[in-house]
Symmetry: C2
Subunit: 357 residues, 2 copies
């Protein structure tokens, strides 16, 4: 029986995708080898790779002046690569520090470029800044924002519009909300939440950025090399790309980003409604305007009740609901492939639990 | 029917490993989820991860003063990370340029550290340097060598011993030959040849290197962060690690590095013997002392015959024998999991083909 999988990432993938991959796993389309055993320069993998790139473009509705890159590693590597590729000598980037991920974006990135904090929501990170709370210095090259902070459980209800291009870390809302292409230079994110298994970041980068980028970088760190070589300059993470292509096709079949956005908002509303109608038994620690649609963080009246509730979720075949150690409590991560039945099951358990305590 | 898989990487994996992973793929040990859907902080993945790290240590017979790191991406990223982590201000590294891979090691690395060429075997790269051909300048921090050049088809018959620590790129001979730990500071390689599917490098690094390493690096680029966090600072490439663990266990069952070394030498000898006994019909373009054990490059009398032979290999259910575009001809890559029957099949076809032309 499938578990109700509320993990924060890696997390649930469409069952149909897993079953299809399992069937093809040992002998790919009768070739006498698994796809993961084949040369990445051969026709079978090439078709998979190019289709995945095309799907990553079409599902995101990326304009033609953006390149789509598959970069091995995770979004954490992009904390270095973004400033390396965007900041030439003398240029500065800003970071909106709104939680654990953007904080790392700043602390990691400043080793590779001149970055400053345009906002700091710490230590509790319970809300996102409005545009007038973002202090952008003159001559700033870009503003780095984290679309959704998975640990704190907050998201930008709308993306900042402050007159400088955005660099958006979108891992936990990747392709489940529209990207503001007109004011964005780079979008990046790990695929292991909405889009596939772990092992890769997808990066969208404006072509004019590549033209102006520093050339004094190793190939593996340089966006331009990925763009020129269709992300096959070196051996790509074959399995992750193969699976991501399958998930992207599944997303397209669901209706693309618009459908995921509606589904994500709907799933979040089910749980927030339980919280809001629980007479304070369940409590969301974040500003309601900025509540995450994918990571619902909530508390119970006592730590003991939280532990009791967590045990009840395990008994009810649910996984991944323990809150992050930095904030405690519970967290329901609900990414693209999480079925609505799982959300209903959690909602039911919450109602039942609060009614009997 | 399984193909005879001579791909240069990604390449053949043990069939038993593929079948085991296929069986576990959708529902991992009855957990109601695939391992690739589970949190990397959970107990199921943690056990897989720690076992793979332990196997990577034990199969390599890495001494206790080395750390074992799993780094997402490929060996190409290590061309940047090695100088970043080894060279402090004012320090220089040397590179033995013996083919395509070490050439990239130099050209990529020099953006991130002061590197120079201690040898250049170009433009044909048909032999490896002896120790006295390596020009090591005073004060050199390390010598980067590529153990085996997959494109040229040459290997160091023994590792240089020139009084400075080695940094060894070992991708295409990874754990199929012993590592000279006493004179080595770093060993790295992509896993997608001997050890698993693509998507990760394994890095062995001497602990004293970490203590002396620059701290002004983003987390994803800093060896020390991987070492401190058991390579789980950020989300690791779960599938690649899972599969690599299975392959490492298979290697251990085969008898470890010593067994792979003997098997590799034996498989190479079968093909080189056919070449050497073909009265010049088949020809190895490289110095016989330095012949690769994993990538046997060979030529036929004409390009037309090469094309004809390549077509015959395809008819005989063999894949991956086309030579690299930079050197032409044929190339038989024979990594750890390639069965001896596949080598015998190729040898038979070569004998038959040359006898009838």
């Amino acid at each position: 029986m499938r578990a109700h999988n509320f993990s924060a990432g890696p997390c649930t993938l469409p069952l149909s995708v897993l079953q299809e991959a399992q069937a093809e796993f040992v002998d790919y389309h009768g070739a006498g080898a698994s796809l993961i055993e084949m040369s990445h320069r051969g026709p079978a993998y090439d078709a998979v790779h190019m289709e995945a790139l095309a799907l990553a473009r079409s599902v995101a509705q990326a304009p033609s002046d953006f390149e789509v890159l598959f970069v091995g590693g995770g979004a954490t590597m992009q904390f270095a690569m973004a400033p390396m590729n965007l900041l030439s000598t003398g240029q500065r980037g800003a970071v909106a520090v709104t939680g654990a991920w953007s904080k790392k974006g700043l602390s990691d990135g400043l080793h590779h470029g001149d970055l400053y904090s345009a906002f700091d929501g710490g230590p509790d990170y319970r809300s996102m800044p409005s545009d007038d709370q973002l202090h952008i210095e003159a001559g700033t090259r870009y503003l780095h924002v984290c679309s959704n902070e998975t640990i704190g459980g907050i998201r930008f209800p709308s993306f900042p519009d402050v007159g400088v291009p955005l660099v958006i870390d979108m891992s936990s809302e990747y392709l489940s909300r529209p990207i503001p292409w007109d004011r964005t230079d780079v979008v990046f994110g790990g695929v292991q939440k909405n889009l596939g298994p772990s092992g890769m970041a997808i990066v969208y980068v404006r072509k004019s950025v590549l033209e102006a980028a520093p050339t004094t970088l190793a190939s593996a760190l340089r966006y331009e090399v990925y763009a020129q070589k269709d992300s096959m300059y070196n051996t790509p993470p074959v399995f992750t790309i193969w699976m991501t292509g399958k998930v992207l096709k599944w997303i397209k079949g669901q209706g693309g980003t618009a459908a995921l956005q509606a589904s994500s908002a709907g799933k979040a509303k089910v749980i927030y409604d339980i919280i809001d109608n629980s007479n304070g038994f369940f409590r969301s620690p974040v500003e309601s305007r900025d509540r995450s649609h994918t990571n619902v963080v909530f508390r119970l009246p006592t730590v003991e009740l939280e532990q009791e509730f967590l045990a009840a979720t395990v008994d009810a075949n649910m996984m991944g609901l323990k809150g992050h150690r930095e904030v405690g409590g519970l967290r329901a991560s609900m990414y693209a492939a999480l079925p609505e039945q799982s959300v209903e099951a959690l909602a039911g358990l919450m109602s039942q639990f609060s009614a009997t305590r």
